[in-house]
């Protein structure tokens, strides 16, 4: 452990704004890409299901 206390850890020896903003932006971007990928996937599958349901009801055999 490089820090004596948690508040020291947060202060980063006076470099807190720099360290935390760099890490924060990185974390934010990583999380955002994952979130975006999930939303994209869900919407796509929703759309595909809607399309399949429409096709099935046209054929007259709704599952």
């Amino acid at each position: 452990m490089a820090f004596a206390s948690f508040s020291e850890f947060l202060a980063m020896g006076g470099h807190a704004p720099y360290v935390w903003s760099a890490w924060g932006v990185t974390a934010l971007l990583l999380v955002a890409t994952v979130w975006h990928a999930r939303v994209e996937q869900r919407q796509l599958i929703k759309g595909l299901k809607r399309r399949a349901r429409r096709a099935n009801s046209l054929k007259g055999n709704t599952p």
Partner: protein, 255 residues
């Protein structure tokens, strides 16, 4: 060999195999990134010169590595697509580009922030930062070119060619920027180059780099799967897949 390549190229096959691979990469990414972050932020010693601002290296360097690697993978995918007409390769290249641009942005941002305590300014025309900035423009070019075509087939080919042209130029650009930098700023001090880094400093760095790579692979697999569904929506196997899922409880698509 041929059979294998074409099997690899079948979207359906890829969709199946990527479903099996994906969880492992997500798990590895989570594990490595958490370990690396804790270690790098809390346990690695502070730098004797830069103090704690040095901890930015643990996001800056992995992002910079990944940004370059993604461009290379994009070009390789483009080559595979052009030579063997494997569509999955192009789908992967298409989903890689935004992540690559995001990584380049992270490298640039963390570099700029790091510059404040080190150089006392937000921006220095440092060799690494300058190359990163050019790389960002290359990414934006590929993304813009792909978006500019109305025909997706043409867009795929054009983006592949541009990615290959870009990847040939990246080393030339890097070399010339380094050369330019040393000419104009002799004996100045760069962010990350240091003679010796103790083990407890570089080990977390290695872990972070591996974590970023796992993350990249996992995300690319996931988004390529979405892209496959989007492009193959009218294919029989996708419709069967969707029908099969609707039979079951509307369970969420596994990731």
């Amino acid at each position: 060999m041929w059979a294998f390549i074409h099997k690899l190229g079948s979207p359906k096959w890829f969709y199946g195999i990527s479903a099996k691979l994906q969880p492992w990469f997500w798990a590895a990414a989570a594990l490595l990134l958490i370990t690396g972050s804790l270690w790098g932020l809390a346990f690695a010693p502070a730098d004797y010169q830069q103090g704690n601002s040095f901890r930015i290296i643990y996001v800056h360097v992995p992002a910079a590595f990944l940004a370059q690697s993604i461009f290379i993978s994009m070009a390789v995918s483009g080559l595979v697509f052009m030579v063997w007409k494997i569509k999955v390769a192009d789908m992967a290249a298409a989903v890689m580009a935004p992540l690559g641009a995001a990584m380049t942005f992270v490298a640039l941002f963390s570099g700029a922030v790091w510059g404040v305590p080190t150089w006392g300014t937000w921006w220095m025309w440092d060799a690494r930062l300058t190359s990163m900035l050019i790389l960002l423009f290359l990414y934006l070019g590929v993304i813009a070119l792909r978006g500019a075509f109305t025909s997706r087939d043409s867009a795929s080919r054009a983006a592949s060619v541009l990615a290959m042209v870009g990847v040939i130029n990246i080393p030339i650009i890097k070399y010339s920027v380094d050369w330019w930098y040393t000419l104009h700023q002799p004996a100045s001090f760069t962010l990350t180059s240091r003679p010796t880094m103790p083990t407890e400093m570089w080990l977390p760095l290695v872990i972070m780099v591996l974590g970023f790579y796992s993350f990249f692979i996992a995300l690319t697999l996931m988004r390529t799967r979405s892209e496959i569904l989007r492009r193959e929506a009218s294919k029989r196997w996708v419709q069967e897949l969707v029908n099969g899922q609707m039979m079951k409880v509307p369970a969420e698509e596994t990731r």
